[in-house]
Amino acid sequence: MTGFLVKRFLQALVVLFLVSIIVFTLLHLLPGGPARAILGPKGTPQQIEHFNHQQGYDRSLPTQYFMYLKRLFTGDLGDSYKLNSPVFELLKQRLPKTLLLTVLSTVLAVVIAVPLGLLQAVRRGKASDYALTGLAFLLYATPVFFLGLIMIILFAQVLPIFPAEAPQGETIGQLLGDFTGLILPVVTMAFGIVAMFSRYMRSAVLDNLTEEYVRTAMAKGQSNRRIMVKHVLRNALIPLATLLGLYLPTLFSGALVVESMFNYPGMGLLFWNAAQGSDFPVLLGVTLVVGIATVLGSLLTDILYAVLDPRIRSVA
């Protein structure tokens, strides 16, 4: 197990290093650099030159990258060009908010998707399976921003039940205090995930139904319900847990869209705004944090998987 962990950890480090290179290179493909975006049409050539010199954009790309890495190792993510704050501070405020949104939506999605997937698997080939499968695919096929828009039109305009804007509080407590504001963003995001999860749940349950031990249990005459809960559901939930780790990037993608639609002050919105204003240090910082989260997520998933699944444990 330790050897496996060390290996996975080293892999994760390599991946993170590559992430930073990819993002860094991508950002620096911008013609003319960020100076124009920051200084606007009124920026004089002298100011642009001065800015580029100050920020090191007049050096070669590898030099800039190594300067960035060097600062990174001292925990310095740089300062935002637009928000006049250290990137680290911004992340510290925004990350918990995005986590809140994603955790709430994921929980809601799992609560809906697990029974839905079970139902589909159990009713395989029946009309209700087709209907639910069809519905799940339709949900999957709906762009998150379109879904959010429908939510806003239906529940904030036609029936003004919920606010169309997410809460604007500074702390998690304040956000939760304004719970009605969280509903539309959380539901929008959850619906996007439900489609994936229920589909997955369905096939995981189907897989398990064919397993030896289920057949054995059935042969022994155990009740269906007992079989379902004790064997099938439990074993189907294990891969679902791993799925969560793998879907972390998708979750963050969804958070970005949902946050910008509902003006939710999380990391996605921070990133969105930074991209509009070519705020490179923020873009780099957020991507790095998201990358770390994803890599850690899949690392944890692997470990979780090894711990949970008796078959894997016995092999290890």
Partner: protein, 300 residues
């Protein structure tokens, strides 16, 4: 009651054997899947709408007509009303649909092609080649696609080709990983082993054996890729990156319509939105049916 639990998985036993009847059985399973069939029907209808529609309902889609802007549905000659520049909505949906479908197809195919070759090469060679190639895909996967697209949208001047490249650029990872998995298991199969012993070249093994054997996986994945690519087109439009006007795609129509959410101009929002949902769902239905037919477990 018990019937529900009894597993009935058609085609399960046949999957591994490559018999001539496989194609027929596959077709039978596919056509037995009502969702898959409705997907095919839906897709055919949408294709007919986009490509044959303009013959039946020719409209001006280049020159603007501000005096006819934002007409409500039902206005003479405009079944679905007009856009904010006075284009007929029905006609615009047809033209825009072509772009969405073409970009989606091209990007989906390109992603599948590149991903397949990448995965096959990594899987066949294994060892450090595989490790290096897979770390690259891990890194790319660790950056959420939307984050990449947001950055790209902020720095790139869009055109049809550029959009195809961008979408393929984020989408190739999943076929790459799938095919690599297949390749890893195939490389230990006897015929590939045999070829190696006889000194068969790497490229030959990859293209002669690994790719054809993974073809089921690839075809099914490709269908999903196309669906995702069409979704990506709409996301890019939402981020402000769509092909330049007067061309349009469904995504750009939808995101332009969003501007008018508050005005109640629903005909600018729902038709393109529903069109996206329908076409993406159709491809997914088909993909799902194909998967059942090929009996390959993909979304694992």
């Amino acid at each position: 009651m018990t019937t529900a639990v009894t597993p009935q998985i058609p085609g399960h036993e046949e999957a591994a054997q490559a018999t001539p009847s496989l194609a027929r059985r596959t077709l039978r399973v596919f056509t037995g899947n009502k969702l898959a069939l409705s997907g095919v029907v839906l897709l055919v209808l949408l294709l007919a709408f986009c490509y044959l529609g303009p013959l039946v309902h020719p409209t001006e889609q280049v020159l603007t007509n501000l005096s006819q802007a934002n007409l409500a549905p039902g206005t003479a000659g405009h079944l679905l009303g007009t856009t904010d520049l006075g284009y007929d909505m029905v006609g615009r949906l047809m033209v825009a649909g072509r772009t969405s479908l073409e970009i989606g197809l091209a990007a989906g195919l390109l992603a599948t092609l590149f991903g397949t070759v990448y995965g096959a090469v990594a899987g066949y060679f294994g060892g450090w080649v595989d490790a290096a190639m897979m770390r690259i895909t891990d890194a790319a996967l660790a950056i959420p696609a939307m984050f990449l697209l947001v950055v790209v949208a902020a720095i790139i001047t869009p055109s049809k080709g550029v959009l195809i490249l961008i979408i393929a650029g984020v989408a190739w990872l999943s076929p790459a990983r799938l095919v690599r998995g297949e390749a890893l298991s195939l490389r230990n199969r006897e015929y590939v082993q045999a070829m190696r012993m006889m000194g068969g070249g790497g490229a030959r093994a990859v293209f002669k054996h690994i790719v054809p054997n993974a073809i089921g996986t690839v075809i099914v994945n490709c269908t999903f890729q196309i669906a995702d690519a069409i979704l990506y087109v709409s996301y890019l439009a939402f981020l402000g990156l769509s092909i330049p006007p007067p061309s349009a795609d469904w995504g750009s129509m939808l995101s332009a319509g969003i501007t008018y959410t508050q005005n109640g101009y629903w005909w600018l929002i729902f038709p393109p939105g529903i069109a996206i949902v329908l076409v993406v769902a159709a491809f997914n239905f088909i993909g799902d049916g194909l998967r059942d037919a090929f009996e390959v477990r993909l979304r694992k």
